[in-house]
Symmetry: C2
Subunit: 242 residues, 2 copies
Amino acid sequence: MDTGSNRRRNLEGEVAKLVTIKLVSFDVYMALIDIQGSLTPVTAAALDLDTEAADEFVRLWRAKQMERAAASNSLGLGRTLFRDCTRMGLDYVLARHGIDLPDDQRRELVSAWDAIRPWPEAIELVGEVKNRGYVTAILSNGDHDMLAALAKPFGDKMDHILSAESAGVYKPHPAVYDLPETELKIAKADVLHVAGSGNDVMGAIATGMRCYWSNRNGDRVIDTTYVPTGEGADLTGVLELL
Amino acid sequence: MDTGSNRRRNLEGEVAKLVTIKLVSFDVYMALIDIQGSLTPVTAAALDLDTEAADEFVRLWRAKQMERAAASNSLGLGRTLFRDCTRMGLDYVLARHGIDLPDDQRRELVSAWDAIRPWPEAIELVGEVKNRGYVTAILSNGDHDMLAALAKPFGDKMDHILSAESAGVYKPHPAVYDLPETELKIAKADVLHVAGSGNDVMGAIATGMRCYWSNRNGDRVIDTTYVPTGEGADLTGVLELL
């Protein structure tokens, strides 16, 4: 037994596994776009809050939006639209703050979720992934129309939009991670998913995908049995796995 | 058409519906017991934190425990034990605080969840419900052994323990609210559930139960289409529905 040679073969096996990647799928709301940076000034202006208060407001809004989406998976009554989860989250935080806002201003704030800006390196990174010959896709909890709006700044660098709306459930439900297979006929083994949160890492890894975690806040997966394939403080680390 | 008489008949119908209550089921972790009040001093002592820091610590611990439980429903890989969700939540918060704690001390802190004290009025309230002739039960996300420990202070005032462990999922999944029917042969229409959180209200009302919300923190259901049958700042309001 030549241990050195075995080790090399194992390493070659690892590399062979990695080179089967055909599709790089991207989470949107955490991985590709900057919720806090985009919505904090909008919220501050609309509600006359200082930056710190607006930042807190957006954080709770996001938490409640996601809590309602998680409840949608559990209740078994079909998928509540993400726009409705977003609206309910807003109504919740407004009520907690004792702010009474007319319906049209609430609609405007919900629409601000369609104009969240990509992280500084996001558009170039997606372009580079595409230049290297991979298929690119958004794979996100957002509704189709919300994702279509968010995909615009990426132009033809983004090949496909895969919405949890098609799966009828939210991440980390496996049906969402099935979308590359059901919609693009690309097997999970050929996908590298770029996650923006520990929840997304858990879902992707549990379903058998490889997963890079763009972990901007130095967060940690709650359940450490789900280990991301790669991890970094922004999106650029994706390229090291390609 | 005698509108007055119709109105009276409707009212009698409402009353008739209410008097069919046979079982009063109680959520534990928010409705019956005081997580923050019980765990804050234990955590402060174990980790040498001041009360404010310990209070924050327990809040995040609880949030991550529940996040992992919600993920368990979505992942579709069976129910992760609630004790394991609790342990993962603790590990998460310790890591975020940069605290390295030996395994036996982590186990001790997780065990502290078996000794959380009832709210001041809880034992007497459950006793009064039972005195009035209703069947009483715990209906909770906790594992069987965790709930058995928490039920002890209630003695023979608590007739049954219904654990989400039997349902294989967590609230607000309807299978948990089916437990009175599957385990006690008591129909949902004959149950008044006492919820401790908006999530629990949503699940109980969605499944067709009546539901009283012991809403100690003046919280609000995220999705206001789910309206509790009754609501108050502590458990005593339950009696008004009986």
